[in-house]
């Protein structure tokens, strides 16, 4: 491993996230400090409500912390407005969600094309087809999400995330809506794609069995993070 790849792609220090509730301020993240090295795989596990999805959204720059600092791809997201955070994500950050988040009025191919089109990639069509082939859906390109099974929908979501060859991929409970067998296949696919690229993989899951597959494993409990 070269010196360069050892650079931390995510650096979070003393992260706190509080929200207002009828009973007063509620602390969801409590003084979390975390560094993620580029090219590694990271699992963040924890029970429901432990704050792991909130942590992922802040690390991915989808949200900002109440206090503390986050550096993503070398940029301090606290100093960026929403548009600049979007700019930071463009072409560099990929996402895979529990509920797939495919757009229902687009075919599988069009869903995969979306980030490439937003990036104005001249080879969008070829790349999208290649990555769909990679996830084993070359025969499903013209299907709409409601014509695909859960596992297939998640494969499309993974293809969409990988189509731009992101520097980092955030996966929020990627197997949460799938049965065990399909879930395992999806995890295998994620690791296989990771192995073939230099993408950093950050995965939030309640499935503790996944952690041994990852380079690093963090445990969330009541807003606190432990290694």
């Amino acid at each position: 491993m070269s010196e360069q790849t050892r650079i931390n792609i995510v650096q979070a220090s003393h992260l706190v996230k509080q929200v207002q509730s009828p009973e007063g301020p509620l602390t969801i993240l409590d003084d979390i400090t975390l560094n993620i090295e580029a090219g590694k795989t990271v699992a963040i596990t924890g029970a429901s409500g432990s704050g792991k999805s909130t942590l992922l959204s802040i690390l991915a720059s989808l949200d900002v912390p109440s206090s503390g600092q986050v550096h993503l791809l070398g940029k301090n997201i606290n100093e960026l407005d929403e548009d600049n955070r979007a700019k930071l994500r463009a072409g560099s950050v990929g996402f895979v969600f529990q509920s797939f988040h495919l757009l229902p009025n687009m075919t599988a191919l069009e869903n995969v094309l979306l980030p490439l089109e937003l990036d104005n990639d001249p080879d969008a069509d070829t790349k999208a087809k290649q990555v769909l082939d990679l996830v084993g859906l070359s025969k499903r390109t013209r299907h709409y999400p409601n014509q695909l099974s859960g596992g297939e929908q998640q494969r499309v979501a993974i293809a969409r995330a990988y189509s731009i060859t992101p520097k980092i991929l955030f996966a929020d409970e990627p197997t949460g809506n799938l049965d065990q067998a399909t879930g395992s296949k999806i995890i295998d696919l994620l690791f296989e794609l990771h192995a073939n690229s230099s993408t950093t993989l950050v995965m939030v899951t309640h499935d503790a069995n996944l952690s041994p597959h990852c380079d690093y494993h963090f445990e969330m409990s009541a807003g606190k993070l432990s290694v």
Binding site: S53, L62, A86, A90, G91, H101, M106, E110, L118
Partner: protein
Amino acid sequence: MSKTFRHALRNLRRDWRSGQLNLLGLSIIVAVASVSSISFFADRLKQVFESQATELLAADLVVISPEPIQNKLLKLAQQAKLNTSLQATFPSVVVANNNTQLVNIKSVSANYPLRGNLKISDKAYGLGKKTRALPKPGEAWVESRLMFSLKLKLGDSIQVGNTNLKISKILVYEPDRGSEFFNIAPRLLMRYQDLEKTKLIRIGSRVKYRLLVAGSVDQIKQYRNWAQSKLSKLESLQSLRDARPEIRVAIERGERYLSLASLVSILLAGVAIAISSQQFVKSHYDHCAIFKCLGAQQKTINQIYFWQFTLFGIAASSIGLLFGWLCQEGLAWIVADFITFSLPAPSLSPIIYGFVLGLGSLYLFSFSQIIKLKNTPPLRVIRRDLAPTTSGFRSIYFSLVVLLMLFLFYQLGDWAMAIRVLIASIITVAALALVSVILLKIIVFLNKKSKLSWRYGITNIIRRSQASNIQIIGFGIGLMALLLLSIVRTDLLTQWQTSLPKDAPNQFVINIQDNQLKNIKQFFSQHGYRNLNFYPMVRGRLIEINNKAVSPKDYDNARAKRFVSREFNLSWADELQEKNKVVEGQWWHKSNSKNKSLAQMSMEINNARLLGIKLGDTLTYVISGQTLSAKITSLRKINWDTMRPNFFLVAKPGLLEPYPRSWISSFHLETKNKDFLTKLINKFPNVTVIDVAIIIGQIRNIMDKAVLGIEFMFIFTLIAGFVVLLAAIEASQDERLKEGALIRALGGQRSLLLKSYFIEFAVIGLIAGLLAAIGASIAAYFISHTIMNIEFNLQFSWWAYGMLIGSIGIGLLGLFGSYKLIKKPPIESLRKL
């Protein structure tokens, strides 16, 4: 092509394919089609008067007069080497095959037409070919419909006054027919030199003489300058610039009224656009959240949706224009019988107007929603409850007022007027909304102990009260207009006709000459028509009020303008006529000794007001080239329903006697005695008989067509109302799906949901129908009292129709719109909960 434009294009294609834009598109199509159908039609009419203007006069300059044109005017034109032609037009009754028919006679001298060509055919309703010929002396060319009404064929003879003319051709087109615009009686074209033989031109005949002149621009200018100073008081000059403005104003006014009829459709379509846009925006939160996750900036999102909506607006407006075009073809077909010329293709302006309206209303109603899409938090991909706030109905109301104001200003061309109409519209809508809310409250109160399907259906209306009210008002206005039109066209007209006494006169006899009076009275008496009243008529034109000259320019009102620009019939009488009532001043025979003057006149009060004439004013008339002044000593109210001749202006006996006059009478003719008319015309060929039944029939025919045209516009209102209904169902779709799924999961049957949906929309329709019936009854009350002067009878059937059509029609439409909601299995919706 920019990146965002390409992306917008792709998005548009995808959204269009998924059906998310259907309702939005339908709303724009309805708005654009309803307005462009009128503007296309009006534009084509206007073009006739602009591009074919030279033909319209069949000359470059025309001298018009109710009396023969002075010979010196003709001579000078001939000396100046100008082309000339004389003509006289007048209505008269012709006889053939023992049938009579009122026709519009045009007798022309050689050279007619000086500009343009006649078209003739050898068979009725044939296409016609151009000709430079004219009917030979002793012949006539007639329009196809006269051939049919009198069962004629070419070569037959037709009695025109004292002479018979042979029909040698069918007249298909005459260039100067357009200036008459609408014609009721068919045309008969004959030679000027045959006019004398007909003996139809007598005192009191409604003849219009014309001298047609054509030549080079300079020659015409010179002749015009000379002729201007030589015209008699009754002669006037008409050139292209004089002929067009009046027609143009008439078309523009018609366009304005019809456009106002389409206003409700546009506003409803606006509401549908707003509701559909809201729905579109809601369904695109996820898109935007993902766009943002994938790195799209706010600016990019704004640009994508701006382009997407603009492209979509252009596409939908184009379809709307296409429908508008097809509908105006329908309008043209409706009035085809009355239009005397063929219509050209439309110009670019209605197309531009259609795009401006389509895109304008789309921007106005949707951009306040679309602009919020950029605020979708990207975190929504994890927390689904996050969404930008929407402004709900507030922005819709605001946009409605802005659109209404802009549209009114465009149509009326006057801010003050636009504001007045706007305030009146807001008050009307507020009143309707208030009644609607009260009716809803009553229904809710009555509904407390009813069955589940009723409770659920009515609760749905209350829960979505804003959208429900808009639907009620929209459907209410559309139904009200249609109901009122049908009431006026059928009930009120029939009521008016039946309100006339059975033996009310149905025939008017005019053009009776002084020397015929004795014989004609005798003729009537011999045929059993005794005690007929004959009234003298003297034709005169008002030129001064209190020694101050009056001209059409002094008045805004079209009727008042006509009053001072044309000759009208004056009469005299010793006794006040039946059903006339003096409301100001005194009738001469009751006058006290103070006013023994001969120069007294009595005027009908409405016309006096129209012209600004008061009791005691002195009016000066020109009668047969002489002037006559008299004082108005009484103002009368006339009940026109007697069907007896009545006169706006009646003079004291003795005042008008020195002037040339003709006589008029009216009588009741039984249908079985129709041949009496033929005998009458044979004996007195110059006399014209006007059959009131035919005139009423013709008025009814024109009214039917006009009403059909207006109904056409209100059909758009109902379609727009339906689009609002569909949009409202679409907007509440998720909620309805979830509720329906829960009800079904808990054991409720589909039929329960179907019933409750039907009840919901049927109640909306019932209230709309009730509002429509109330509104139409109030309007019918005013029409029958102020316009038709008949007793108002409230008909229960109107209310029944309104409520029945409203509830069943809208109930079924609602059911149609919501049927897909119950088709989905409940589990599909429950999974989304």
